[in-house]
């Protein structure tokens, strides 16, 4: 009992390190920095080079890490944050993700993909506490976390630069008018957060004696969860959130099992946010102040096409299998159509309704599993399952998301990320129904009335047909009073509610319809892959689908499909670049967002 509490505190200690950095950046830039974990990873590698290659002692190594990762933090700010500062937090979420992608892939090329040992030069001294032990490194990490938090506090509340940082965090425009150099403040914050991220990476690397290029991803996830638990932007909250998270995890391992660990972390997060939507430590504000007039973000100018172009492209896409005998491009496009369907469905949530969702893979997983189980256990034919499974998935999806729907903005975004993860963890743990980690194999190929569709051309046409149905339905909805209501919520939730739009109901409708088509995409993929497992549809997929709509244009079905085609075909078409292709992919993404932040195809109002 006490031992598990100690275990929770020790790991909470590590979570606190990342949570503090994430929460600090949120406080200043108003964005959850998804590149934080990558800076953390680079910091760990810098420390590793200093210790393992140059044989430096720990203190100069730490100084090098602080300097190096502060520089990386600055670079991230200049390349991926500052040019987009006015574009809004959705875009920033994506540019930081892209920056992280570039760093992770570059690290893999520079230092190799294998895990490296990072042995601690600290004294191996430890003392017993109950059945467990606390090592010198544990205390060192605790001191580093608390020490940095204190330094940060002193800086923010005792120095002039800190005053400027706080002013910028409160109101960027007002600070600018008061003569605060907000760019410098932003650089300063990212440099500090970068230095801190690098230090955390080094310390965590020392703790586990283990560093690798993708180590940032789980750190970001845990750090964000802890920061959210404590209340974004709140440093003591982040520390508290980290310990609460660590302790919850330790006890879920004790009572439920290690496979339930992350699931319980998500349950905790959602539970806390239901009762305290702004986190554990936060002043409860009854009402948000009314916005002052004139702060609209216009959606920019849409590309215009001749009216005949869209039908012409549709018809040629349909006729493509007649002319193209090579199955490879057909397969690529068939997958692009399925992803187009996911993008169109996500667009209803993120484009039309304006809610960022990072958990779309969860709906796809629901659809895939529903259909796999219905067809292989209950013998349902594919054609029927293609209809039934999406309904089932939509119902379950709305049920799961309902408690989270009252959260706003990035809180909702991160909670949906957790929900997407939770769905695949349920698939992993509910072995009686889902066969757990073994997944479901030998899923029948798609087919109608006993005729299986197995040729690439057949798959292509099936995917395209379902996509067309999806686009048509979403288009009809979007043109009806319902679309108007959803867009009104996106523009101003308070005003929308004052005119009779029940937020929970209409968000549920958006999530339900969206889940329906995401699940349909899952059904198509499950039957074409013939095998699905809990890790078939991952968080990376959710991000990719979100990228598609931001690239293509929010609230625009054609744009979503175009975004899907680009993002599926692009990595295929640059295969010859080998290890470098995902770096180019990240760079292209940032470039696109820089020059066309509202997507290639815009919402035409």
């Amino acid at each position: 009992m006490w031992d598990q509490l100690l275990n929770g505190l020790v790991i909470g200690n590590l979570y606190a390190l990342t949570a503090i950095g994430i929460t600090q950046i949120y406080g200043v830039a108003g964005v959850v920095n998804f590149a934080h974990g990558s800076v953390y990873m680079v910091g760990a590698y810098i420390g590793w080079m200093a210790i393992a290659w140059l044989h430096w002692p720990l203190v100069p190594a730490i100084l090098l890490v602080l300097a190096g990762s502060a520089a990386i933090g600055l670079l991230v700010e200049r390349a991926a944050v500052r040019p987009f500062a006015r574009a809004g937090s959705t875009i920033l979420l994506l540019t930081t993700i892209a920056a992280g992608l570039i760093m992770d892939n570059a690290a893999q090329i520079i230092w190799g993909p294998q895990t490296q040992a990072l042995r601690s030069p600290l004294p191996q001294w430890q003392f017993k506490l109950g059945g467990g032990t606390v090592s010198f490194l544990d205390l060192f990490i605790l001191a580093a976390g608390v020490g940095t938090a204190l330094l940060l506090h002193l800086f923010l509340y005792r120095s002039r630069a800190g005053w400027a940082v706080r002013a910028t965090a409160q109101d960027r425009e007002a600070a600018l008018q008061m003569g605060v150099d907000v760019n410098r403040v932003s650089s300063l914050s990212f440099a500090m957060a970068g230095a801190f991220a690098g230090l955390s990476g080094l310390l965590v690397g020392l703790y586990f004696n283990n560093i690798y290029p993708t180590m940032g991803a789980s750190a970001t996830l845990k750090g964000t969860t802890a920061a959210l638990l404590g209340g974004l932007g709140n440093v003591p909250g982040a520390i508290l959130g980290a310990y609460v998270l660590g302790i919850t995890e330790a006890f879920s391992v004790e009572w439920l099992g290690s496979s339930f660990r992350n699931l319980m972390a998500i349950v905790l997060l959602i539970g806390v946010l239901i009762f305290r939507p702004n986190g554990l430590i936060s002043a409860r504000r009854a009402l948000n102040p009314e916005p002052t007039a004139g702060t609209f973000i216009p959606h920019g100018r849409p590309l215009r096409f001749p009216r005949w172009l869209l039908p012409a492209v549709t018809v040629s896409a349909m006729a493509l299998p007649l002319f193209l005998s090579n199955p490879y491009p057909l397969q690529v496009l068939a997958i692009a159509w399925v992803f187009g369907l996911m993008a169109v469905s996500l667009n209803l949530i993120s484009g039309t309704t304006g809610q960022i969702s990072l958990g779309h893979a969860g709906f796809v997983t629901l659809g895939a599993y529903a259909s796999a189980i219905l067809t292989s256990r209950l013998g349902l034919p594919f054609s029927l399952s293609l209809l039934v499974s999406p309904f089932l998935a939509a119902a379950i999806g709305v049920l799961l998301c309902y408690p989270a729907l009252r959260l706003r903005g990035q809180y909702l975004a991160i909670t949906t990320m957790g929900l997407g993860e939770a769905i695949s963890l349920i698939a992993l743990n509910w072995e009686g129904v889902t066969q757990g980690p073994l997944g479901i194999s030998n899923i029948q190929p798609p087919g109608f009335f006993g005729y299986p569709i197995v040729s690439p051309a057949g798959m292509y046409l099936l995917a395209f047909a379902v996509l067309l149905i999806g686009v048509w339905v979403v288009h009809r909805l979007s043109r009806s009073h319902l679309g108007r209501a959803l867009r009104a919520m996106r523009e101003d939730e308070v005003a929308a509610r004052a005119f009779g739009i029940g937020l929970a109901r209409y968000k549920s409708i958006a999530f339900g319809v969206s889940a329906f088509f995401a699940a349909a995409a899952g059904v198509l993929l499950a039957h074409s892959y013939s095998y699905i497992a809990p890790d078939t549809f991952t968080f990376a997929l959710s991000i990719q689908v979100l990228t598609m709509i931001i690239l293509g244009g929010r609230d625009n079905a054609v744009g979503a499909v175009a975004g899907a085609v680009i993002l599926i075909a692009l990595p295929e078409s640059i295969r010859f670049l080998g290890e470098f292709r995902f770096i180019l992919y990240g760079l292209l993404l940032i470039g696109m967002l820089r020059f066309r932040p509202y997507g290639l195809f815009n919402s035409a109002t």
């Binding site: 275990n7 004790e254 660990r261 090579n326 690529v332 085609v565 020059f595 066309r596 290639l600």
Partner: protein
């Protein structure tokens, strides 16, 4: 924004878009150059035989793909130095899939459409590999899974083969090692909760119970887990006399290290997947005295193993691990089949079924069984001593 800036940003966005679309067109156009089967035989005789490899070179599993590549490179170098296959040079095309099930079907279609590809090796993870299997099966192109232990992997059809055991031999061997040779009766089993870990654990536990041992803890952990103190505390409280790890070397080393922090000092017996220089590098002193049993061990006195290890060290300046060894074997199995039965896709499939006494590093002389997997693997019990894996002879 001034009109001028806007103008330029539009120009730039248009050119950016055109770059993208050009790339798209390239992907559809150039890649469509599949050679037709009517290529003249004379041309074919000169052209190389190509093996397609579908595997991770970027992303989370990139390190395994890189290990594969080292094994494949060595195998090809040796084969081509000996005159290649049927007088033709043997080559490979490695397509990076990140072990992502969304990319493997596309790569599969690419290989299928490319008539130069004689057979395919890969992919790494089960979801990625099995999403592509139906395509290989329908098109009649052999997919040789080199790390695919999922019990259903080869069930997709008669073109799907594997030179990896589905654990039905490894796990019982390990159980016998722990229960009979080490005389352990209270086992705490920690396993990686994936298709591989789950299957192995069930086979292990079945055999261990049959041999009279008690399994006091059986806990799966998630594949991205780093913090094992809670699960080890739970294991410790069950008072086991051996800790069984069904782990890969990265997580295996982490568990071994963190054991100390909760005061669990029982014997550790780990499945053969921990066998890697990395396990010792990452685990340090904490992995001293860990027992394992592996199909591949560089210190194995068998001549075929010694020859492979020496060649590998010469080529790459390091010891091979089991990932490079399976890849090495995979290529050599295909080469032997092609030499004997021809490079036609169907001939390769038939050849895999009929060939006897394949020359392999991992299995010695081996043949495929009715489940399209290699039969009768051999195991060597090892123990970590003084920072090295040593043969253990009780």
């Amino acid at each position: 924004m001034s009109a001028r800036v806007r103008f330029f940003s539009r120009i730039r966005s248009v050119s950016l878009a055109s770059v993208v679309f050009t790339l798209l067109l390239t992907s559809c156009g150039i890649s469509g150059t599949s050679t037709t089967p009517s290529d003249s035989a004379a041309q074919e005789a000169k052209s190389p035989v190509v093996i397609g490899v579908s595997g991770p070179l970027t992303g989370d599993n990139a390190e395994y793909g890189k290990q594969w590549r080292k094994g494949i490179d060595l195998a090809l170098k040796e084969i081509n130095a000996n005159g290649g296959v049927k007088g033709r040079k043997l080559e490979y095309v490695f397509e990076d899939t990140q072990s992502d099930p969304k990319q493997t079907p596309a790569v599969a279609q690419k290989f299928v459409a490319d008539s130069k590809i004689a057979a395919v090796i890969g992919d790494f993870s089960s979801p990625a590999s099995m999403a592509a299997s139906p395509i290989y099966q329908r098109a009649g192109l052999v997919q040789l899974g080199i790390t695919n232990s999922h019990p259903d992997f080869t069930n997709t059809g008669d073109y799907i083969w594997s030179n990896t055991s589905n654990q039905k031999d490894d796990a019982p061997y390990l159980a016998a090692l722990a229960v009979q040779k080490l005389n352990k009766k209270r086992l705490a089993v920690l396993y990686l909760n994936t298709d591989w870990g789950k299957t192995t654990t069930e086979l292990f536990v079945g055999k261990a119970k049959e041999l009279g041992a008690e399994v006091v803890v059986q806990e799966g952990y998630l594949s991205n887990e780093k913090d094992f103190r809670p699960i080890l505390t739970k294991a410790r409280d069950a008072n086991p006399d051996a800790l069984i790890l069904i782990s890969y070397y990265n997580d295996g080393a982490l568990i071994a290290q963190q054991r100390d922090a909760v005061g669990l000092d029982t014997t550790v017996v780990a499945i053969g997947s921990v066998y890697s220089p990395q396990f010792i590098k990452l685990g340090g002193e904490a992995v001293e005295g860990v027992y394992t049993a592996t199909r591949f061990y560089p210190g194995d006195p068998r001549p075929e193993v010694q020859r492979f290890v020496q060649a590998y060290q010469k080529e790459h300046n390091e010891d091979p691990d089991s990932f490079s060894a399976v890849a090495y074997d995979g290529v050599r199995i295909l080469a032997q089949v092609m030499e004997q039965y021809g490079t036609d896709r169907k001939a390769i499939r038939d050849g895999l079924g009929s060939i006897k006494d394949l020359d392999t590093v991992l299995y010695g002389k081996a043949s495929f069984g009715p489940d399209r997997r290699l039969q009768n693997p051999r195991f060597l019990p090892l123990v970590v001593q003084n920072g090295r894996f040593e043969l253990w002879n009780p």
